[in-house]
Subunit: 151 residues, 6 copies
């Protein structure tokens, strides 16, 4: 059976030592969705149609959150992200946030990708909360992550 | 049909002016769940049984996130939270984070309660990611919010 | 002759005590401009025409900066901003950032309005720096500030 | 004609991927000036004469701002600055802030040098705002930037 | 026997609800000392004599830390500080940092005063660490705290 | 006689340029103690016995502080910490916080280890301040630091 990497034998939390790992190109993609009422979706579509700010504000918030991940999550390492991308798109029943984060480092960037998705969706929630009383955020998950050796 | 409070007629984003509202006691409760594999749940249960740190770390991260909400979400106001509570509990298929935030102010604290839940669950994700490759975060939503006049 | 409010008789820096002032509605408006080459302006105009993100990203950065002012400027007080607005507009030789910040408090919000303008213009600089090697930021100044008694 | 590095073909903002670049020694120097009234300059000169804190506080704020640049400017990368220097000097009509920032990294430090200058000048503004009602910040620009291969 | 205000009956940590308290003028004073070798003290005295930056940098860091206290200490409330003062003075065997913080609020500012003293002394440590291998920080404590009704 | 690394010949503060140093594995250990009354110790022991949160909250705060060091201390460099560990243990007259921080970098991590200890102890202070009016923090000091070549 597996073992928590952040938890020692006495059950105490711990920051994992990544100092012995070789720096690699790390990439992670995550996603999540906010479920919206039809009326809200219509408003967002109208805003998207006239290229308003709703999705852009959420995307910027997501990128900023990726950079703040180690401040948000206590046992996360500080990283130097080389790329963060957040794309929000309207779907049938809500808005999906797809994120991708890359770094060159000794530990992966999945928490950065997941934080970016979470905060982008919370930002959409914030902008829609005056018109939609039934929003919920669903399906925040990792899509994939890779590590590639440096040339 | 409703109208976005943060978006003007040209579709541009905007911080709402709350300066004319009367300060009231604002309270909001939110929740969310991270779905975990049986093996992961067993590890968390063992950790909880010996009163290890897993749930506590997530709760602390959630409280800290409530205080950082205006930094995370671009159009949120800065607030002086008078109380933030995050409780994580193991359920059949995962861990639920229940949050409650209070302030005395001119705008509500639902984004604070939702941010607290999101970050608490991301923190559990972080601690379990070495043992569980199928986690996802579901059902982040507001439970209720109230405003009460100051005496 | 005047006297620095933040500097004592020995020349030492000091945070002013605002505790004895009565809370009032404080408002300040500031502005600033980034001078751009014709080619850069054309690119921004094209982006603005198709309602791209350039000006929006700068506006969001400016709003966020208004909220961070007390962290940026050592002797500034923490404030609860009730409204922050940043509008970027293309002019003949560059982009102007106009800002407005409001709070209810014991000290003014001019530094918040000025920080918002500065960071909005720096953000435009960042986005244009691959195409324009002669940018400069000019004329960051206060337009006006007011204080009004609470009703 | 050039192309914005941060903006894609649809006009959407984007963090540039710097992961394929080779780390180099990056250095940038920037400058800016705050225009002050004669009386204000006299007060600053007196403070400087008795080696008071005015210029030092601004310099410290500038150094701190260099380290916060990626938090202020949405599409900036996080960097590990190896050196940040901010020097404020009184000139005929105001105070000039000269900055220099170095890092070893995959992207330049010009935004860090420019942010340091901007925040140093805003800090002087803050300290002088009780005595000078006509301040403005001018000429924030890059002086030069270099990249040198690592030995 | 007393009871921890932040800890519930099950031993779990908790942010205290201060929402029912009446806002009062809160003030706290704290102190602490860093013990230095004779040679280091001599260098600081020389720097102080020519009104160099050592003590000023520490004082500014302390003021900034007072404003960051709720971000540093998980169960602290966010506050609007109306005044923060940090004075460092050379004594026989080291440097003493005396701090004073005021706010109008529902909870005291002793943690802010203590954080300011701690960070001011850490900043002196940082500046002296190349010359002194035996520094230690001692006696960080509250001197007094008061609450006064608003008029 | 030694010389301050952060202070130039005119007594001005300066961030040291670490760009020419070769990255090495840096490790530092620090410690500090908070002196508590017998009654407080008893409450902490009871909390520790039932594995309550008191010591865990302090440890998490310390780890977070290690990551924030360059934001707290003006002339500290930003670093990528590979490991941060904070252990709090009850002793005869108080609680000791032992910390260890590692990074791969061009400058040491002693300030990070000392900041972690300081903030962990301040966090204990915060949680005990309702029951103990005589706390003081003592003996914050470096235990050792090492640098090792990368393989």
């Amino acid at each position: 059976m597996g073992k928590f990497s952040h938890i020692d034998n006495e059950g105490k939390a711990n920051m994992v030592d990544v100092g012995d790992k070789i720096p690699q190109i790390r990439e992670a993609r995550a996603t999540g969705k906010i479920i919206l009422e039809e009326q809200t979706l219509q408003l967002i579509n109208e805003n998207a149609l006239k290229k308003g700010d709703v999705l852009t504000v959420a995307e910027i918030a997501g990128i900023q959150a990726a950079k703040k991940t180690s401040d948000l999550i206590p046992l996360c390492h500080t990283l130097q992200i080389t790329k963060a991308e957040v794309k929000c798109r309207v779907v049938e029943d809500g808005v999906v946030a797809d994120t991708m984060v890359k770094c060159i480092g000794q530990t992966g960037v999945e928490m950065e990708a997941l934080s970016a998705a979470s905060v982008a969706l919370l930002t959409i929630y914030d902008m829609c909360k005056a018109v939609d009383k039934n929003m919920r955020i669903e399906g925040i998950k990792l899509l994939d992550k890779t590590k590639t050796d440096l040339k």
